[in-house]
């Protein structure tokens, strides 16, 4: 379970999260929507401790992320994150990209790591690209590799930060299909996204962020068909 309690986060004078509270249960898919600068991406990087917070606390399975005693490297094994930029390691093959962390972080043997990588890469449809360098892959393929790379660590949670925003429109579908497959398998996910149709299909709940505040949260039917908040209505009508 991920518990976000009254989290405040500022970059200098700019406060991007103004007291956000939300809980994500095991097995749940939460989509986070909202305009740019609403703080939705920052929330993800706060959850895995890439960003510090000024106030409040975040618990991942009871472990306080920003406590001084928390071993972030250890905690992050449970939190897979995929970013808008694909962030492939360009000097490593697809296979090496995926096996690097399992081998170095989890101390897995070569064969075991390879088996897991092959399985994950086949799941995302890259079974024929094992020895290719990321520079030769399309954006969609690189992003699916990044998803496989995160999954190879067998995380309990997946945090997805606008993973289709940097893709050409015709490549968005293949990545969303991968995410749908993950959701069907029962992966707990927080998905920051601009894909409203996708959010409606896969989410258990949808959260609308507005200017650093969680303005509205509820089942997709409520958010998309009968939003309670005036800001949610305005936003949804603007994105069509």
């Amino acid at each position: 379970m991920i518990e976000v309690e009254n989290v405040h986060k500022s970059f200098g004078a700019l406060e991007v999260l103004k007291g956000v509270t939300v809980t994500v249960e095991k097995g749940e898919v939460l989509s986070v929507i909202g305009g740019s600068g609403s703080g939705k991406s920052t929330l993800l990087t706060c959850i895995n401790g890439l960003e510090t917070i000024q106030k409040g606390r975040i618990l991942v399975d009871g472990t306080e992320v920003h406590a001084k005693t928390t071993d972030l490297n250890k905690l992050r094994r449970h939190l897979g994150i995929v970013f808008q930029q694909f962030n492939a390691f360009p000097h490593l093959t697809v296979m090496e990209n995926v096996t690097l962390a399992p081998r170095k972080v989890l101390g897995m043997g070569k064969t075991e790591a390879r088996d897991i990588a092959v399985q994950q890469l086949e799941n995302v449809g890259l079974g024929d690209k094992l020895d290719v360098y990321p520079g030769r892959l399309s954006g969609g393929q690189q992003q699916r590799m990044a998803i496989a790379r995160a999954l190879a660590m067998s995380p309990d949670y997946m945090l997805l930060d606008e993973v289709t925003s940097a893709l050409d429109p015709q490549l968005v579908g293949e990545v969303l299909d991968t995410l749908k497959m993950l959701a069907d398998k029962g992966m707990t996910m927080i998905v920051v996204t601009h894909e409203m149709k996708f959010a409606r299909q896969v989410s258990d709940r949808v959260a609308y962020f507005h200017k650093g505040i969680l303005a509205e949260i509820g089942p997709p039917e409520q958010i998309f068909d009968a939003p309670q908040n005036a800001e949610t209505k305005t936003f949804l009508s603007s994105v069509g």
Partner: protein
């Protein structure tokens, strides 16, 4: 062909000079690169004050002409009674000079690794050291190598200045021969050719690695 009084012994004398040049360059580049990496990484990770102080010290080595550094260092070590051989003094000064230039290359190369890539590797649970070893170092190497090769070649040539400390390296050996034989053209042509023969493989190695790495992109 040019008529010459150069004997086999004279050629051996030049070759020994070239050997000294190579040795000084190798020691300075090895020590200087190691220090340069340490200083470069330190400057990116230590606090503003320490990093700023280090930057000023390194700037001194980068800005003061090497000749002045060599002569001053040799004088200071004599005054301080360190009793260092000129060869040792020359290697230390050249290594520090190399380190100062190398630390800037290292800083630039590490800075060229996208922050987002580093965030991705840390997000996979890798420690700072693992991130530096498996992700940052190989990526930075590709960026910094051409400049580093340039640095090695310039240190090779700059090492000629150590003859001011009485060390007989390649350039000094040629000078001695010129004084004796009065054949400046021939001897300088040969010395120049030796510098080229030493430099050429280093430059080619750089080009080879760059091409090999580019194939993956």
């Amino acid at each position: 062909m040019l008529e010459t009084d150069l004997s086999l012994n004279d050629m051996m004398f030049l070759a020994r000079g070239a050997g000294v040049t190579l040795l000084i360059t190798a020691i300075s580049v090895a020590g200087g690169t190691l220090l340069g990496i340490i200083f470069g990484v330190a400057r990116m990770n230590l606090g503003r004050v320490v990093s700023g102080l280090l930057a000023v010290i390194l700037d001194v080595f980068r800005s003061v002409p090497l000749l002045i550094q060599l002569i001053l260092a040799n004088a200071f070590q004599a005054i301080a009674g360190l009793g260092l051989q000129p060869f040792t003094t020359a290697c230390v000064v050249l290594a520090l000079y190399t380190a100062a230039l190398c630390s800037e290359i290292v800083r630039g190369a590490i800075g060229a690794v996208p922050t987002t890539t580093r965030r991705a590797s840390r997000s996979l649970g890798m420690t700072w050291t693992q991130d530096m070893t498996y992700v940052v170092w190989p990526m930075a190497l590709r960026v910094g190598l051409p400049s580093w090769i340039g640095l090695v070649l310039s240190v090779l040539k700059d090492s000629a200045l150590v003859f001011w400390l009485g060390i007989i390296e390649l350039l000094r050996s040629s000078q001695i021969l010129i004084t004796r034989l009065q054949e400046p053209m021939t001897i300088l042509l040969i010395a120049g050719a030796i510098y080229f023969i030493i430099s050429f493989p280093i430059a080619r190695l750089g080009g080879h690695l760059e091409r090999k790495w580019r194939e993956n992109d």
